[in-house]
Amino acid sequence: MEVIVRYLPSLGISAGITLMLFLVPAIMGAILGLLVAVMRTARSVVLRELGRMFIFVIQGTPALLLLFIVHYGMATLGVRLAPALSAAVALSLYAAGFLGEIWRGAIEAVPRPQWEAAKSLGFGRTQALLLLIAPQAIWIALPATVGFLVSLMKVTSLAAIIGVVELTKSGMVIANMSFEPMLVYGLIAAIYFAMCWPMSLLSRHLEKAQHATR
């Protein structure tokens, strides 16, 4: 027990690393995911197919394997990245693959007549998308987007397996040293819960709010 208390500060730092592994991929993944979503709804078949293949590969590959490919795989090809950086890159791609699909769905969920109204007012496709369709798509996409962010937070734990000293890895070390796996992993789980549960509640709340306006 004393061991655990002694290591609480480092646990705090590890939680910070977890937060970074969450925020950076969330933002990078969002940017890339937006690009993918636009590609998926583009007029060009080439763009649409490229986007589709990206999503297919990302969603069909285990997250852990993505981490391994970026970290160990790139190393054998000569590109050596620090574990945390590999994790950030891999998780960004992971996020892009899922957010892109969610946002494509949201764009397509905006009723066709909205596009027609925009067209009849003289709006070009890009302007219509930016000013008129996107705001509606964002609202539609909110519950699923927040829901995915919960998944992303949980997936950051996989970085432990490639050696990043985030929350889970920290837990593994402390559990080993204190011989109290139940207590330690229970505590780690509780910390993740504290970070994830509010987002889950928000996602559910947003979903209910949407059903109300229908």
Partner: protein, 222 residues
């Protein structure tokens, strides 16, 4: 200067190891989802029963599973059980955690499916003398599973992909096989790429199988 020459021929001699690993992955996923489905039906029943303690317990279970990482759940099970006297192998701990995890998500899915069953179904069941439990087993459960078939099959796929994490405690799944192979030939990139291909093939196989199951059973209920 990065060396981008891909040498896949290092991987082919080890394909049988990958197949072995894939076999365990399939076995784990199939068993976990089978047990998990049953457990989820029980859990969904508890959740929707009027009995407060059971409903609260089920709700708490779902929330904990869905808001904590699978890896942490796995480590918890694998390392905690021995401390209370239960010895488990890595594969056993993997299966247990996968069942636990699958159940947490599937209870929620089934809850939605159960809610969408019209009340008239329950009235008919009562009118022919079914008890609450019988109604659940013979009327509610089959329809709930049918109504949520797409979500359930996608949960299966997610479980299959998520099972790769059990390699972290050295359960001998597909990812563990890949880890082993690349430690032998040092061609990590090629090995993991081929392994990703295996997972893609497995999920494609699942899709086809589930579509066939649908056509052969539930489809006829329309």
């Amino acid at each position: 200067m990065p060396n981008f020459s891909l040498q896949f021929w290092h991987v082919w001699p080890h394909l049988d190891a990958l197949f072995q690993g894939a076999l365990l992955t399939i076995a784990l996923t199939a068993q976990a989802s089978a047990f998990g489905l049953v457990a989820s039906l029980v859990g969904a029943y508890a959740l929707m029963s009027g009995f407060k303690p059971a409903a609260t317990l089920a709700r708490a279970y779902v929330e904990v599973i869905r808001n904590t990482p699978f890896l942490v759940q796995l480590l918890f099970i694998y390392f905690s059980l021995p401390t209370i006297g239960i010895q488990v192998t890595a594969n056993q701990a993997a299966l247990m955690t996968m069942i636990m995890n699958f159940t947490g998500y599937t209870i929620e899915i089934l809850r939605g499916g159960i809610q969408s069953i019209p009340a008239t179904q329950l009235d008919s069941a009562r009118s022919i003398g079914f008890s609450k439990v019988q109604t659940f087993i013979f009327v509610v459960a089959p329809q709930a599973v049918r109504n949520t078939y797409p979500s359930l099959t996608s949960q299966f796929s997610l479980l299959l992909l998520g099972s790769s994490v059990v390699s972290a405690i050295s359960a001998e799944d597909l990812t563990a096989a890949a880890n082993y192979i690349q430690s032998l030939n040092f061609r990590s990139f090629e090995v993991y790429l081929v392994t990703a291909g295996f997972y893609l093939a497995l999920t494609a196989l699942c899709r086809i199988t589930f579509a066939a199951i649908w056509r052969m059973t539930f489809h006829r209920w329309e």
